[in-house]
Symmetry: C2
Subunit: 110 residues, 2 copies
Amino acid sequence: MGTSKTENFGTDLNELAAITKALGHPARLFILHHLIRTKSCVCGDIVEVLPLAQATVSQHLKALKEAGLIEGEISGTSVCYCIHAENWMKYSQWVNSFFSQFDPLSGKCC
Amino acid sequence: MGTSKTENFGTDLNELAAITKALGHPARLFILHHLIRTKSCVCGDIVEVLPLAQATVSQHLKALKEAGLIEGEISGTSVCYCIHAENWMKYSQWVNSFFSQFDPLSGKCC
DNA sequence: TTTGTTTATCGTATTTATACGATAAATTTA
DNA sequence: TAAATTTATCGTATAAATACGATAAACAAA
């Protein structure tokens, strides 16, 4: 991509965009959904469930981790990834607030 | 980017990812916020408010339109962009449902 | 120690995204 | 009709994202 001029839109929108960007790929949504729905949070288990190479899954996990959506805990040779509960609720609120700004009853603008 | 294997994750996650992807850029969030907060929905007004070239803004508007987040109505030589009310509420629900799948009281998985 | 297991990272090829200037297309105005 | 206005699109340069194989790193097990 080109240089996204992220410095010009305010901190709030930049942070929100970082979250929605991390959510903007089906594989990452699938991983999150998997972590929530099942108890298999070990990296290897996730790799088995996805039609992607281990390296690719690891990259997606890294992206989710950097966005604060998940956290990883090392357990021997394996790593257990979980939803970052605190951030999850915070982000949920942020996204919900963004959508809620719009009032559907306000009528069309033009 | 590489070929995102979007064919393997189910229709729902693909559709949701398309929406969050469109929301994954601060300029586009800014545009949406602007459309909601002000009454200036004309393309030219948006260009003036953003630190981006007209062509770039037009591209972002196209992305938002293709995602179904906004709709454009031609009015003379100018175009008025508005939030797509129906889709907006639907998408809001989708995103909210996705976040709500996680129960913060369920405890850590490991 | 040696071997095996698991995950992260490196290197890299490819595709997409972002951005801009220039220009086309459509409508308004003079 | 001619000129001005507004927006979309084209062409293009650059950067980031996606994906993979190969390999390193860390730990467990033999």
